[in-house]
């Protein structure tokens, strides 16, 4: 029966992440953006929350919490409220762990999951996006060619989260024609011949998140390093989970923008009264509240389809189109509400707009 009420356990997760965002994320956010670096010790602290890969089954040393995209949406929103870049960093381990849980062979689960059940932040990440203007997950330009029982990979990747320190890359490449079904995932160690990891990329936003580009020149991948073996992965479904994660981060930063706008609009005087008492400003803020609620119900509903076992491409795609557009609108209006002050990097709103512009591009950078 229809319900919009998180469970007690989910509420507890929300509260935990909200606290974490308040103490470890938001206060350090602007400085981290200026320095293009995560706060010292952040990755380890985020790892100790124990939430990013809580879905790893107990049999493999994990917490064995029931996988739920809805729960993921709830926690990702709180991360986004704290800081989008730190949120992506926090969720990064799931980029590798969850596809292994879902599609790995028994050998692969045994080999790779221990990396994600230890006490230190795992040095592993995934590479989906490519540096082309018409990046299309259904038509990747990184190509995997069968050779000697394994594969050879060639192509370029970009926006690989935490790539500067990653020891292991899960690289998505196309084996055949266009279509989700022809995409496979390959484990490539940093030391692999033919793999070049670029310097840290210079991004418009999420600057404190270290991202890199990869160049693959005939990188050999042995049979056992093809995720899922012959069966491969369900890349379409992985992308659905990714969309939920990204939309939820977008909702979080939108909420940050709205809260900041409300505070500012009530304190800033013009023409003898707070600007929040003028309809032009008040309506922008009302629209923020409306769209945040709308984005959230769309995200929960799409996530619920995933939890029912569906691939949910249509639901997550519509949800993401909606939140991409509206997160941009909300953060843009937050700058507008602050006027000239919104333009200055002494205030957080312009940074939120820079983060928000990225969501139309960030496919595959986060996973729940």
């Amino acid at each position: 029966m229809y319900s919009f009420e998180p469970t007690e356990e989910q509420q507890s997760i929300i509260d935990t992440v909200r606290d974490f965002a308040k103490t470890e994320m938001r206060p350090k956010s602007m400085e981290a953006d200026e320095k293009s670096d995560l706060p010292a010790g952040f990755l380890q602290k985020s790892w100790e929350l124990g939430l990013a890969v809580a879905g790893i089954p107990e049999a493999y040393g994990g917490s064995g919490i029931e996988r739920s995209a809805v729960t993921g949406a709830l926690l990702a929103e709180e991360l986004g409220y704290g800081d989008v870049a730190m949120g992506i960093a926090t969720l990064a381990p799931a980029l590798v762990a969850y596809p292994v849980v879902d599609y790995g062979t028994e050998e692969q689960k045994t080999k790779y999951l221990p990396l994600f059940t230890g006490s230190g932040f795992p040095k592993a990440t995934a590479a989906v996006l490519e540096p082309t203007w018409d990046f299309d997950p259904t038509e990747l330009t990184t190509i995997a060619t069968k050779k000697d029982g394994g594969y050879v990979l060639s192509g370029k990747k970009c926006l690989v989260p935490l790539g500067s320190t990653a020891e292991l890359f899960l690289i998505y490449a196309r084996d055949g024609g266009p279509g989700y079904e022809n995409v496979r995932a390959f484990f490539v160690p940093r030391s692999a011949a033919g793999l070049t990891v670029s310097e840290k990329e210079k991004n418009m936003g999420v600057k404190e998140l270290d991202t890199v580009g990869l160049t693959l020149n005939d990188v050999k991948v042995p049979k056992e390093a093809v995720l899922g073996g012959d069966k491969g992965v369900n890349f379409e479904r992985i992308m659905s989970y990714s969309r939920v994660a990204l939309s939820s981060l977008a909702i979080g930063v939108s909420r940050a923008a709205m809260d900041h706008s409300i505070t500012y609009a009530k304190e800033r005087y013009a023409f003898g009264e707070p600007i929040g008492q003028r309809q032009a400003v008040a309506f922008m803020i009302a629209d923020m509240a409306l769209e945040i609620d709308a984005m959230r119900v769309m995200a929960w509903e799409a996530a619920w389809h995933l939890d029912k076992g569906e691939t949910a491409t249509k639901e997550t795609f519509l949800m993401k189109m909606y939140s991409d557009k509206n997160a941009l609108k909300v953060t843009d209006n937050a700058v507008q509400v602050m006027g000239g002050h919104g333009y200055i990097r002494e205030n957080p709103v312009e940074g939120w707009l820079r983060h928000a512009r990225g969501f139309t591009t960030f496919d595959g950078m986060a996973l729940v």
Partner: protein
């Protein structure tokens, strides 16, 4: 637990209404639109039987919105399911998918009933609402608030109610009364009239009075010619020394300067999601038409690809789908909150503001997408655009609802944010 699956009763009811909408409403839709002010008689009689079978009781009391005080609960009334408002939203959406104007012609207590349920005493509820569940002839309820000089500023109404012995004497002019003619001229119904007992105290003086059909001094001036929802009668009613028994004043006669007319305003928390639901039904009709056209033309919308590779048509379709879905989920959320006794003043305005605008845009885009075919009165598409528009206006315009949201979110009073 967060869940997007309807209760089986809601699903079954929805399916039945969907079938009725297809078989009874759609075939009559164009005819009643072309010949404004004709009655969809077969539908009305059919629905009257349905209402009497028990649905009427639920329909009359479901729109009470917000937390209910225990003492108001009638021990004899049918047990309200914990999904009454959600059921209402689904039902209204389905009926409006059939035809929004014909839906408004359904013989129910409507907004008048909602006012009675929200503000009336138990005795008044019995006296006024029982008629909707018995008798051979269909009955309608209506509510009269708007006047020629005031709409959004409902606190500025000038209709007066002057105490005279055991009566109140009403004088004034009401317009835009949905189902007004059917309520007071075509049936043994009633109209709930907002009038002020004391102009000097502003909104605190506004009370609602049940004026039953046949009361002398209540004059039907006529019905409007409209852009859409033409099957719904929109009446102008004048009150000339209309004597109304004091027992017909809903709730307390006391002028409470602190409470004002909050009680009746709270009705909107329930009726706004209902109007949003109606808008969405129309929007869905238009959307499904376009989806069917895509299928006919062999166009498969490519969800999951790079959005910039989509054709303009695919993009337009997906925008329509996403906006309609967002509006519908928000509406169900507001209804769910009512069912769970959660104060939903903010959410009611959010879903109404979203649905009103989204469906206006969706139905307008749908006509555009069909080119010359969409412009023709041979298909229902252009009618749906005309039917949709009113939803962004009545029961609180989009601008008023945005104002309510803004005040809530900013924590401003009516005086601080005008």
């Amino acid at each position: 637990m967060i869940d997007f699956e309807h209760h089986p009763v809601v699903q079954q009811t929805g399916m039945m209404i969907s079938q009725m909408a297809e078989s009874m409403m759609r075939p009559a839709a164009r005819e009643v639109d072309e010949h404004e002010h004709t009655d969809p008689t077969a539908y009305i009689n059919f629905m009257w039987d349905v209402m009497k079978s028990g649905a009427g009781g639920a329909a009359a009391t479901q729109f009470t919105g917000g937390p209910k005080k225990k003492k108001d609960e009638d021990p004899n009334a049918p047990k309200k399911p914990g999904f009454g408002n959600v059921l209402g939203a689904v039902s209204i959406e389905m009926m409006s998918w059939g035809d929004a104007g014909i839906y408004l012609a359904t013989p129910v207590a409507g907004l008048g009933g909602a006012a009675v349920a929200a503000a009336g005493t138990d005795e008044q509820k019995e006296r006024f609402l029982k008629r909707f569940q018995e008798g051979d002839k269909p009955i309608w309820g209506a509510m009269a608030i708007t006047e020629p000089g005031c709409g959004s500023d409902s606190a500025a109404i000038t209709t007066t109610a002057t105490k005279d012995g055991d009566f109140y004497v009403l004088n004034g002019h009401k317009i835009f009364v949905t189902s007004g003619k059917r309520a007071i001229a075509d049936s043994n119904g009633f109209v709930v009239v907002w009038a002020t007992v004391d102009k000097n105290v502003g909104r605190a003086g506004i009370k609602s009075f049940v004026v039953e059909a046949g009361t002398p001094g209540m004059i039907l001036l006529g019905v409007e010619k409209k852009h859409g929802i033409r099957a719904s009668d929109t009446a102008q009613i004048v009150f000339e020394n209309c004597r109304v028994p004091k027992e017909n004043l809903l709730g307390s006669a006391e002028v409470d300067l602190n409470k004002g007319f909050k009680g009746v305003m709270a009705t909107f928390d329930a009726t706004r999601p209902a109007v949003a639901a109606s808008a969405i039904g129309i929007g869905r009709a238009a959307l499904e038409f376009i989806q069917a056209e895509f299928a006919k033309q062999g166009i498969k919308p490519r969800y999951g690809t790079n959005p910039h590779k989509l054709t303009a048509r695919e993009r337009d379709l997906m925008d329509m789908e996403a906006n309609l879905k967002a509006a519908w989920l928000l509406t169900l959320k507001a209804a769910w909150m009512s069912d769970n006794k959660k104060h939903n003043n903010l959410e009611a305005s959010i879903c109404k503001a979203k649905a009103g605008l989204a469906v206006t845009q969706i139905t307008q885009k749908a006509v555009e997408l069909m080119g010359p075919l969409g412009y023709s009165r041979e298909i229902l598409l252009e009618k749906w655009m005309r039917d949709a528009k009113i939803n962004d206006i009545f029961e609180g315009t989009q601008q008023i609802n945005m104002l309510i949201i803004a005040r809530r979110v900013l924590g401003y009073s009516r005086d601080q944010l005008k």
